[in-house]
């Protein structure tokens, strides 16, 4: 899609330096790779969204009438797998992170450009395998692959889906590895740790999880595939194995994986809030450290997905209390963002509207997490729509809002074009309203007891009203997601050319042309200022932070 971009400005930049398919497929430029990722994850986002739409349509009526039970099971399975492994996990890191991490720290590229390209190819191979799996029958285990259903009972393409996700994991690992090395080794002179934008801190924390968590789920999927192919017994109780071991290993990654999705989004929102309230972030070091704390504590809480699974009650106590420990840094972040607004000079541009949306939805998602970590309540609401609503508030309301906010914020930098502001504000509003209409009723559904992954609720017609509301919301939400897609595409050709720093923002990435030249900076930056020095910009002491040649 990016090859279609018209040459926006006369200056040579990363988009117009080379032309042709080959110049994209063999590029090692982190900005071009980011666009490769953008195209591919957008593709998967709409596939996953299409599945979601079918799920919601099926649930419009209590009876199972739109699709067959098996089809429905495949729909929610592949919705989850596609959205999590092929959209959310790569979304912000591989697109915005890839584009911005080197620029924000004043580097010419990531430390290992070829590995960066390799990670996209690995992602592409995994994606093709996943597509092949979906087109030739799909998989119906739920995205969680619980054994022994996945290893001994499902007769769908578990092995193929497992391998696809296994492979995609390496793409994620390589991205994380590249970020950590880049952040450690490639910072521009003067870019000390305490001057790093909080976006970088968030990506650093994300990378830790990608590096240390992903391999565990990878090997677990290998075991599932081996178990399914050879009946080894590792997870099969009939052969002496313990199915809960699978759950432990799976959630060891898959709980922290939530933080892979939300942490980068927090980073994006931090940048946006600072820029549009023209302020230093309140409590910089606390926000930075809370990212690391979330990454570390995120590894200690996984079994809160298993409170009714048959684990030891004593272990459940430990995991419950640790789950509250991870809630504290999240709360700290929310308070700091709110405090940043205090005495700011706040503008309501589209990115800021998404950031506000993020704040509200993440707060609600986070607070409902407190319900789920409370052992006594967890028993009732786990595996119901309450959980569905909770994690959509975090992963869609939080992560996706942040992603969209970030796309709007940096779109002028990425493409050199401005998107239509009015449409963008409208889209932000539609997404916010549609989202709440879709998912808020699901909290109530869950507490009333509607289990997740139910295809047919004809014996419980009392659930219909809330389901209808939810489906109506999903339709609105769908429109809200299509809009940005359309005006972004439109703006690539017809949008007004963007100035280098349309938001008068403070980050290093804004001190270079839009779109940036291939090696990001025309002269090598030397950093002499703190992050978020909006006072200096606004008081006119410096029009923009000075870049020393």
């Amino acid at each position: 899609m990016a090859t279609a971009i018209a040459q926006p400005v006369e200056r040579e930049n990363y988009l117009n330096k080379h032309y042709g398919v080959g110049s994209w497929l063999l590029t090692t430029d982190h900005k071009r790779i980011a666009l490769l990722y953008l195209a591919s994850i957008t593709f998967f986002f709409f596939i996953g969204g299409f599945f979601a739409l079918l799920i919601r349509l099926e649930l419009l009526t209590p009876a199972g009438d739109l699709v067959q039970a098996d089809t429905y099971n495949k729909l929610f399975t592949m919705h989850g797998q596609v959205m999590i492994f092929f959209f959310l996990i790569p979304s912000i890191p591989a697109v915005l992170g890839n584009f911005l991490v080197p620029m924000m720290i004043g580097a010419k590229d990531l430390a290992f450009p070829k590995i960066n390209l390799l990670s996209w190819y690995i992602y592409a191979i995994a994606g093709i395998l996943m597509l092949h799996c979906m087109l030739t029958g799909g998989v119906d285990t739920g995205w969680t692959f619980y054994t022994p259903f996945s290893t001994a009972f499902s007769n769908t393409k578990v092995i193929e889906a497992g391998l696809a996700i296994f492979i995609s994991g390496f793409s994620s690992i390589l991205t994380g590895l590249n970020f950590i090395v880049t952040i450690h080794r490639m910072r521009a002179p003067g870019m000390t740790w305490s001057r790093l934008p909080l976006f970088i801190w968030a990506h650093y924390a994300t990378s830790i999880i990608q590096i240390l968590g992903t391999p565990v789920v990878a090997i677990t999927l290998v075991l599932v595939v081996a178990e399914r192919a050879l009946h080894l017994g590792i997870f099969d109780p009939k052969l002496g194995g313990d199915p809960l071991l699978f759950q432990h290993l799976f959630w060891f990654y898959s709980h922290p994986a939530v933080y892979i999705m939300i942490l980068p989004s927090m980073g994006v929102v931090t940048e946006i809030i600072a820029c549009f309230s023209r302020k230093r972030i309140f409590g910089y070091s606390f926000v930075a450290l809370s990212s690391i704390a979330i990454a570390v504590f995120g590894f200690l809480v996984w079994a809160h997905h298993m409170f009714v699974a048959g684990i030891s009650v004593y272990a459940a106590l430990v995991f419950s209390i640790l789950s509250y420990a991870v809630a504290v840094p999240s709360a700290v972040k929310v308070f700091n963002w709110t405090a940043t607004l205090y005495k700011g000079s706040i503008r309501y541009d589209a990115p800021m509207l998404y950031a506000f949306g993020f704040l509200g939805l993440f707060t609600m998602g986070g607070l409902t997490g407190l319900f789920l970590s409370a052992l006594g309540i967890n028993v009732h609401v786990t595996d119901t729509y309450f959980v569905i609503a909770h994690f959509h508030y975090i992963m869609v309301g939080g992560a996706l809002m942040g992603y969209l906010g970030g796309m709007h914020f940096w779109w002028p930098k990425i493409t050199g074009r401005l998107y239509p502001e009015g449409w963008a504000r409208l889209a932000a509003l539609i997404v916010f309203v549609g989202f709440n209409l879709t998912f808020f009723p699901q909290f109530i559904l869950g507490y009333l007891g509607m289990p997740r992954r139910y295809y047919d609720y004809s014996h419980m017609p009392e659930f219909q009203v809330l389901n209808v509301l939810s489906t109506a919301g999903a339709t609105v939400l769908g429109v809200g997601y299509l809009l940005p897609m359309m005006y972004f595409l439109w703006s690539m050709r017809y949008g007004k050319p963007a100035p280098d720093n349309p938001w008068r923002a403070a980050g290093l990435e804004w001190q270079t042309p839009s779109p940036p030249p291939t090696f990001n900076f025309e002269t090598e930056p030397v950093v002499t200022w703190e992050a978020y020095n909006y006072d200096e910009i606004d008081k006119g002491h410096k029009e923009v932070p000075q870049v020393v040649g």
């Binding site: 010419k108 290992f112 565990v216 090997i219």
Partner: protein, 232 residues
């Protein structure tokens, strides 16, 4: 695994790559990258060690019985072989550092010979297990094998099968790493032969060496855990 080989490609040009400011920066980045990759590898094996630990504690007697049927002498020999190969790796780097081309190339070749020997011995072991029907699957047979210390108590074949599953997956994954390592070292040998490495620049050797040593360390743990559960 592809990672490590391509991390070498990044630096295969002795000239400084465009996006690094100094050679020092480039070398430090490669080094750090490899160490972090090894962290990933630790967690990769870590999932297996976790499964192993839990089943070993749950089914200790069966694991002990199954472990006894593997040839510990071969396993011990393989440990020694790998240790020797680690030595030749450091000697090869020393050769590069001190401009002793013969030492460098000779030691690289020796490392690969040791690596191949390891895989050969591993193959002999696998062959034995195959002949004894100890390979998990339809032909698996572990009937009437007594539990160590209790001659009248037979090990549970299902639990023994879990042991052998873990044995084959863990050693198999390790062997896969050895094969990747041999690939890396073939390339290093080629590059060394071409005279790419100098006392000033031999980062690929160091990074490849880190990988090789890590594979050695994994085996250092696998050997007692799999072969020596209960041998008295």
């Amino acid at each position: 695994m592809a990672v490590s080989s391509s991390s070498h490609e990044d630096v295969h040009n002795p000239a400084l790559l465009h996006h690094f400011a100094t050679e020092e920066q480039q070398r430090d980045a490669s080094n750090l990258g490899m160490w972090i990759f090894l962290g990933t590898e630790v967690m990769f094996f870590g999932g297996l060690f976790c499964a192993y630990l839990i089943y070993r504690l749950l089914y200790f007697p069966d694991f002990a019985a199954a472990s006894r049927t593997i040839d510990a002498a071969l396993g011990g020999t393989n440990t020694a072989v790998l240790i020797c190969s680690s030595l030749t790796v450091v000697l090869a780097i020393w050769g590069a550092q001190t401009a002793r081309r013969g030492v460098m190339i000779g030691c690289l070749i020796l490392t690969m010979v040791f690596g191949l020997a390891f895989l050969g011995i591993k193959g002999v072991e696998y062959k034995q297990k195959f002949d004894e029907h100890h390979v998990p699957g339809p032909s698996f047979n572990f009937e009437n094998v007594p539990v160590p210390g209790h001659p009248d108590q037979m090990a549970n074949p299902r639990h023994a099968q879990i042991f052998f599953s873990l044995y084959f997956i863990m050693t198999g994954l390790h062997a896969l790493h050895m094969i990747v390592g041999l690939g890396i070292f073939t390339w290093l040998l080629w590059a060394a032969w071409k005279g790419r490495f100098t006392p000033e620049y031999h980062t690929p050797l160091e990074v490849g060496g880190l990988y090789w040593h890590f594979v050695d360390i994994v085996w250092i743990y696998l050997f007692p855990l799999l072969y020596l559960i209960d041998r008295h």
